[in-house]
């Protein structure tokens, strides 16, 4: 792509590094900002700078937080005996939106994948074990994506937690609510049949 200005080229180059944004979309965004009033761009760049310099991770669950201890970890209304292990912040948000869970979280920061050079040491696994050792934990819920890497990580965590007298559970897998049975993929449907549960009326 040929640019009439080096400044634009630079800005487009940076914006297009973001996930899901190609050169053309980046150019559209950059030109849009130029068309708007200058303070809009400054507010955006300030917000980003603030985000980058002031963001913190909760010292307990490693979720993104504004404070040393995040709102969930410091809330007196949460059940402090249950920890739900998730991959990243987005999963915390997804589960929070269900309003069905009132325990604490632990954000791993990824899943184990030797191909991508992500080893257990790159995740917050030691910190999780530390929490189980030092706090009164009765249950750990593994809420990892049902992918190859998620499953391996769950297996690894289970082995690591074996020495503690806690209940280890994993979220159920099966047919989505409101979904049509015939459109469910075979793997999920097969598993749902195998792992069927007692009907409760």
């Amino acid at each position: 792509m040929q640019f009439s200005s080096r400044l634009i080229e630079e800005a487009v180059g940076e914006v297009s590094k973001l996930p899901g944004i190609g050169k053309k979309t980046a150019l559209r965004l950059v030109l849009h900002l130029l068309k708007e009033s200058p303070d809009k761009t400054l507010r955006l760049s300030d917000a980003l700078t603030n985000l980058r310099t002031n963001i913190r991770y909760c010292s307990c669950c490693h979720n993104i937080s504004d404070t040393e201890l995040c709102d969930i970890c410091s809330s007196p209304r949460r059940d402090k005996q249950v920890i739900c292990v998730v991959e990243d912040t987005r999963d915390v948000m997804a589960i929070e939106n269900t309003h069905q869970y009132h325990g604490l979280y632990h954000v791993l920061g990824g899943v184990i994948s030797p191909i991508e050079r992500i080893s257990p040491a790159d995740l917050t696994i030691d910190s999780l074990l530390e929490r189980i050792r030092n706090e009164q934990i009765s249950e750990v819920i593994l809420a990892l994506s049902p992918t190859m890497e998620g499953d391996t990580t769950a297996f690894y965590l289970t082995r690591k937690m074996k020495e503690f007298p806690i209940k280890i559970t994993t979220i159920a897998r099966g047919i989505p609510m409101g979904g049509e049975l015939e459109y469910t993929d075979e793997l999920t449907l097969g598993r749902s049949i195998q792992a069927r549960i007692q009907y409760e009326s």
Partner: protein
């Protein structure tokens, strides 16, 4: 099942072509390089979502063009189905059945089976065990989609485990629990894949024997023998015991990714001692057994593609094949040949409907 119509755009050396086929016999005549085999490959692509000849799909795009498109009407159990396969260079392929794109392309595998007989394709004997695994995996994946999914999982786990072994070797430290996390998931997959390979080979071998006896000139005893360390009773122990060896070599040394199928004639390995004729008989019997297995397992008659068989086979074996065509053992058949008079000679007595196409430089004309 058969193909009624095929339309190609920018596929290999075709700019555009429109063909209407016979449900019985279709013959492509033309000089070498005219594009006969490309038509077979187009059919292969529509069946298996990939080319029979190269792994990089974008090689199938006509030179200096940016995309290709294949559109065909198939008839299966008296219903017309359209299949469309589009590829734009640098993008993911799109595969549609009745205008609906597949969410997972693997869902298509096995629905429209084809068998390609290309007699020069002797890699399956001459090369290492990998070629034979590929050959049988391709067959079994088409009759059992669970087999395919298990293979995909297995290969992904194996890659991860090998990457892990490499990292352990580099750092000099081994996390046993992490390694065990992979072992625990690979072991059941090994058992299950080996079990399915054994099961499907047991169904496949009788077909193979029957065809070999029919097509060979003299009485010989061919054999196919599945070889796998996984079937041994001590496999799990052995797999774990091999840890130190795995660490030194930085790869997983035991498992179904090392399986082989041994080909023998009269107790002698085919690779080293067989004559050209025996190898050809073996290859054709392998392919015809594939045809029969597909037909019984998928409950539909596969399309048979025969590439250049007249050039590479002797009259005796050609005669046998033609006789099978004559007896109606196959459904729809596609045959390529460079010499029209030879094809006429072989097919003149045939009492079946056929269509003959002459191909010249990517242009097709029906005779």
């Amino acid at each position: 099942m058969y193909i009624e119509k095929l339309n190609l755009i920018n596929f290999k050396n075709y700019e555009e072509a429109d063909l209407q086929f016979s449900p019985n016999i279709n013959i492509f005549l033309g000089d070498n390089g005219a594009g006969k085999t490309n038509l077979l490959d187009a059919i292969h692509c529509l069946s298996l979502t990939k080319s029979a000849f190269h792994s990089n799909e974008s090689y199938n795009i006509k030179k200096h063009e940016r995309f290709f498109s294949l559109l065909a009407t198939f008839r299966k159990e008296n219903k017309a189905l359209t299949l469309q396969y589009d590829l734009q260079s640098g993008q993911k392929k799109v595969f549609r059945c009745n205008n609906v794109p597949y969410e997972r392309i693997t869902d298509h595998i096995g629905k429209f089976p084809v068998v390609l007989i290309a007699p020069y394709d002797t890699d399956v004997f001459r090369e290492g065990s990998e070629e034979r695994r590929k050959f049988f995996d391709a067959i079994f994946s088409q009759i059992d989609s669970h087999y395919l999914l298990q293979l995909i999982s297995y290969n992904q786990l194996l890659k991860q485990r090998n990457a892990l072994l490499k990292q352990f070797a580099e750092s000099g430290r081994c996390d046993d629990i992490l390694l065990e996390s992979y072992n625990e998931r690979l072991l059941p997959l090994n058992a299950s894949i080996a079990g399915l390979r054994q099961k499907y080979l047991d169904q496949y071998i009788p077909y193979f024997m029957e065809h070999y006896q029919a097509i060979a000139e003299k009485r010989e005893a061919p054999s196919l023998q599945y070889q796998s360390t996984v079937l041994s009773n001590h496999f799990e122990d052995q797999f774990r015991k091999n840890k130190s060896k795995d660490l030194v070599l930085q790869r997983t040394t035991l498992g179904v990714h090392r399986d082989d199928v041994e080909f023998k004639i009269d107790e002698v390995a085919l690779k080293t001692f067989a004559s050209q004729g025996q190898q050809k008989s073996f290859l054709i019997a392998l392919k015809l057994a594939q045809f029969d297995l597909f037909r019984s397992a998928l409950q539909t008659t596969p399309i048979l593609l025969m590439d250049d068989i007249f050039d590479k086979l002797d009259d005796f074996r050609i005669g046998k094949l033609i006789q099978m065509v004559q007896e109606g053992r196959f459904g729809q058949v596609f045959i390529t040949d460079a010499r029209p008079e030879r094809t006429e000679y072989f097919f003149q007595q045939l009492q079946r409907e056929m269509r003959i196409f002459t191909i010249e430089n990517g242009n097709v004309q029906e005779k």
